[in-house]
Subunit: 453 residues, 4 copies
């Protein structure tokens, strides 16, 4: 029955739903990507980790050799910048729809963060490239987008602030002000992903340029700050459940009287909110699909473990114990449903742009990480101590997925937005219910029934 | 953006996924059905209940007037026997795919059990008609299928046994044996849906005709038993959480030396298992889609209640309290995901027959009722006492959905089957993992790294 | 090891916690009660149901014979009015603490509603007797309390209103006003438990006597209304998941210009809120303990079923399948924890009156019904169709427990109150944290460490 | 109302349950401990972390200065070796019951692992000291127990094996064999807690001395191995979600032809199983109570955060958003119930030794870590990025608690055991049910009712 290798990885049913929406080019690229990820990236994961120095200084000054080699291979294979859709970015993009890339993002997520980086499809670079491609001036594109697209440099998006409840973006405190022909930036950020990487040459910094503007959505601007600008102080790497995620890292940064030329302003004064909104839509889908890939991979290695004869206890395979079989069945169903939710969001983006897919994106954002956490947690449980160790990918996956429930808007924000959106259906429903009630009353009367209305 | 009324009911995203698989006829039929259910069936639900006598005898001898009227209307509108796909039953069917009918079954589920019966699409008749259409002799079809298709009579499928763990069908005790030109049936069944209905004229009875056959799947046969055959004793109506579901009911029945002619055997001796397997596949999908319709309707009335100004407490709308908004958001996402799961199962059936969709059908079977129960339970909670009362549909919906977790195989059986099915992926995964391990070892060696393999 | 029969029923650990707080009288009474419930009430449950007429009229006019016999037996055995603590009601009560009765209430809950009624310990009578014992005038006590205590008559508490969000008691609409020497009552109530019973002779009616009082907690009064007063119209029995719970029932009642003498006012004008608050504290604990008894009984019959050789499927006992063993283990732990929570609340009431136990009562209120529902649901699942039928007690238990999540304040109200109560700990915690921070800063300085404070 | 500072920390209700079981000495010690932990240990937590070198070598060779100072203080205050009950160990113990220490272990858990170590109450030393106190020869006690009790040295318990499913202890592969007057040990262990610490001088090693013994519970022995014995190779530190937990660590160790004198055998040949059983009972309770302390602390800092005015979003305190209040209420109730479960287990141990408390210990083992994980996870969620960082204790707590679901027997093993234990109640219940059925039949007959038995 299977017609494409993706069916062995994802469930055949979800492929059935979307197969006829894939171009021949996309199908072929997907097949190549599967081979590349399974045969090149998966075996390289522990190698890459071993190539990272343990020395607390050196680990932040290293480009990992095997990653660089894989980048070269991926570029040759045409598995490069797959995230950038030609439909939206005719100049720079590849001829893939959001749906087609979404399926590929899942494959990349099977060996995250290695595979996404190898294919130049890793956050935060992808979002930054989209910002520069959509909103950057030709000058900005030449200087920063081109080397990002070629994988020569990396980048950071500097938004979250240390002492601020920045899940409400209007709380942001960083000051961005004009002084003559320069922009002066002062602020205290943290959890700025990628900022630790020696290859990171540029920060896109979000701050307040017009804090007294009555419209709180016009107070922010985004400015391009070269990483080596005087006043940019990377204070320390922040951890995520004990992981520093070197060399990229998630850094605390103080911007102290950082000065850049006026031309480093992106899009225009007060348009920061517009930029982050545009940046987040497809990005959230990519995060979600990579998370689904992570969950699927966790299920796959769980299946291997529970059927491993050397792991029998009390004379039985692990799968013969307790709730293992039913955990597997639930994981299978939960992954499949979440995948279809995200794919439906991708189709909506293809049809109506990100704005027309806000509901699906929002649902995916609060559904997928929790689902993936649960699947990974079940896998950890069957692995015992090894499950929480550096010898398996599970604990690291878990930490990253847990953080996704906080990043780009915590679950609560998205639940709130989707709930409010549903409430908007109430007036029409109430009207319809009134009509039905009227009809019902007529019927009771017609049949001469005394009702307790 | 919306292009079809179904988008207002279901989520637009899931419609996006399947819209291009709908024929113009299906789209038009669906639109008519939505109007019929919303404008005719919903207002008739409480009327139908009021037309049912409270007298413990009479309620089992009544054809409810408004139901009969709605049947006539539905037939005129071409909303009749929609479940029977012409592709599979060229002689009797309507030109709808399983996918197309699945979406319609959701609409019917919004006013269940009234709407399905009005459109001659209610269990157990649908399954019985499929059995007769697929396996019945021309004689059997003429005598029983034709009046069932026209809605003149109703039917029962007699399988579950009172003192037997019949979720394992091989445990069935009812005896079916040949005696000359007759078949003699003895057995004790219960929870036989529809058997209380005065319009029910025929039982399809499952029992053991060859109990000593070494192949436990060849021991059973199915026999057609007219309801008025001597020896068929309907003992009492069984309840479901206090509901007797009159006039259909779920009855305890004793078959005592019931004799029917040999020609009443369906398909052949020992083919009972084959028949129930064929019967259950699409039937489970229909149950699931009706359940999704029930969940969607529950969410809809929940939205009405929480925005009702007359239901404010402590100065706030109900939606402003506690976890209501987040319950709504979760319900929205859970319904959408479950719907896509079932629709993907329907597509698989259309592509590969029920046998090629066993995984998706099994997942839907254990996912959907639990999901719908949760949504209905949340709705009950915002309604307070009214939520558990006869004035709302919620408590009755709940009872029916809870029973679905037991009927046609309890959740546990399906979890077990899907889990086992996933385990079959393990050998290939283990092989792939070995290849990756080998490659990894080579890489460690190439880079001269001492690894803790 | 076991020293008292209660250890076989409850878990020995919780008995360990409270054993030394039991008087010899209480221990002896408890032992008698266990025998009475197990040997007299449990076998009578289905008999009582069978003695209830199915005729929709007669079922509301019947005192069930076996119930009346059991009442006589219980009275003789000294198992009567156990709920009324002598410590609080020296004139009427029995010498039992709240803790001691709480354990007995669990035993009663094993055969609810039969056993509580047999021992004159059933709601709403218990709460009404407490109200009359605490707040009633000698006249009122003579007329209503004495026959209630002797089990001659029954009673109703009339609070919930049909078209009102009455989980916020200040929303209540029923009007209670003085007219000369009379009180005139007009209102529309529903779900008034016990009001259908032919033995119910009196309603305690809550309504607004001073709707314009600025203090919303002084607007209500409670009035004694004999059930046969002109203007008291019992409209219909309301259902709970299909059950009408005849003969007690939960009725819709219209009070239309009902007139009673001034002396029927309880406690005083405007003191209605005070009365319901006093009524609810211990009452909620009793409900909770009966629910724990129900859960424990459900677990007990689940244990019987899963070890029943005649219920094997696929060659295995039910307990050998899927998640059954782990469901049992979880149920065991959840029951034990919930029991200790309620017992700790009872101890708090004994020590500090109901006011000093509000936190524990509130927690028990939102924890116990959900816990019991889960245990009962798991039991239903192993019983299959029989689990939802009238042949087992499970479905009926479920319906009653589900209603407890709505009655006497829905879960949400209690969650909110307990959450708010916890928030009050925050200021002290913040002060403590500041002191710790100061000390920490000193330590960093002492050790000459540069910290990222 | 509060009579002891512990009431401010734990809930007053659980204190009510056990207060009268506390000696004056225990009450006084508890009060001192609360002050010590809150005022000395909590402020020292981040200091201790800062004093740990980041250098990958040095961090394993350091005794953290502030920890050593706190040990001196605790010893002076009489807060030392509180875990060792005089009742069981008259020679070495302190006059505290298991119950009394359990409450103290919760307090220690508020600042874990610092406070337990400061009071010489940290695993695995506590278990090892119990083993030596109970089973050690006078010689062994003098050499190893005395310096452990004084806090001079630390120790490891070497059981889990790398390539073995060692949750089934009979799978253990390490070989322990006699060779003349020596014992020779060969094996491959990992996740050996404490083995990285420079102060750790001794390993208790579990292995197989009689692998062909037909009784699989007599195959194991435990041997004392000084950490500096030739052949003891600490391969590497293992991580737990990115944490190496230096300097104690959880190490991979190869024992290669390690030779120790015969006198290093503990208790006797083949008695290894007996030793680990004796070791685990109270130890599991201590782990559980520390976990409850961790959960309580997480709730406390969650309360601080959600009421912090500087963390408002969208104009509201965090506690005014979404499900926060209800999360807090649930956390409160869940902590309280789990605490009572563990305290009831401690009382059982005091009454009947660990053997008489197996049920309560087993339930606590699978209930508490999951409960604490949920509470900590909710706290993380309100903290956003800071919640997963090194600046808060939450992520580290989470990682440790997650590991508890795997250590000392994974959840599944305990669920299975408790479930099986419940099943043993079935025969008595079935007998009781038969008697009730007989009585019921008599009653039906007496009342002349035809029942559907």
């Amino acid at each position: 029955m299977p017609s494409h290798p993706v069916e062995e990885i994802t469930s055949s049913a979800s492929w059935s739903l979307v197969e006829d929406k894939f171009s021949p080019y996309a199908k072929e690229t997907l097949a190549k990507l599967i081979t590349f990820v399974n045969e090149e990236c998966v075996p390289a994961q522990r190698v890459a980790r071993a190539q990272l120095p343990t020395d607390p200084e050196k680990r932040w000054k290293t480009a990992i050799p095997i990653v660089e080699e894989l980048k070269t291979k991926a570029k040759k294979l045409g598995l490069w910048n797959l995230f950038l859709s030609k439909a939206h970015y005719p100049e720079f993009g590849v001829p893939l729809t959001n749906l087609e890339y979404a399926v590929m993002a899942e494959i990349l997520g099977r060996a995250s963060p290695l595979a996404p980086e190898a294919c130049n499809c890793s956050a935060p670079d992808t979002g930054n490239m989209e910002v520069l491609a959509r909103y950057g001036s030709p000058e900005q594109q030449k200087q920063w987008l081109v080397p990002l697209l070629s994988g020569e440099i990396r980048s950071a998006f500097s938004m979250t602030e240390r002492f601020v409840a920045s899940s409400d973006a209007t709380n942001i405190q960083t000051s961005i002000r004009r002084e003559g022909n320069e922009i002066v930036i002062n602020g205290h950020k943290w959890y700025i992903s990628g900022a630790g990487d020696p290859r990171t040459r540029v920060h896109l910094v979000m701050g307040k340029s017009d804090p007294s503007n009555q419209n709180t959505y016009l107070q922010q601007s985004v400015v391009i700050v070269p990483a080596d600008t005087p006043g940019v102080k990377v204070v320390r790497p922040m951890c995520v459940f004990g992981y520093d995620d070197a060399p990229e890292g998630h850094c605390e940064i103080i911007y102290e009287n950082v000065r850049v030329p006026l031309s480093n302003l992106v899009l225009g004064w007060g348009r920061g909110f517009e930029i982050i909104q545009g940046r987040l839509g497809p990005g959230r889908i990519h995060h979600c699909m990579r998370s689904i890939g992570a969950a699927q991979r966790a299920l796959d290695i769980m299946l291997q473990r529970v059927t491993d004869p050397s792991r029998k206890t009390f004379g039985k395979f692990l799968y013969e114990h307790g709730t293992v079989i039913s955990d597997i069945a639930k994981s299978r169903a939960e992954i499949d449903m979440a995948r279809m939710l995200v794919l439906s969001a991708a189709i909506q983006i293809d049809k109506y742009k990100a704005k027309g897919a806000l509901k699906e994106i929002g649902m995916a954002k609060f559904i997928v990480p929790s689902m993936a956490l649960q699947v990974v947690d079940r896998a950890i449980q069957v692995f015992g101590a090894e499950g929480v160790s550096q010898d398996q990918i599970l604990a690291e996956l878990w930490a990253g997925l847990r953080t996704l429930r906080l990043a780009d808007g915590p679950d609560e924000v998205h639940l709130q937005q989707i709930g409010q959106r549903e409430l908007k259906r109430a007036p029409a429903l109430r009207k319809q219910a009134e009509a039905a009630k009227k009809k019902e009353t007529e019927l009771f009367s017609k049949y001469n029934i005394k009702a307790h209305l």
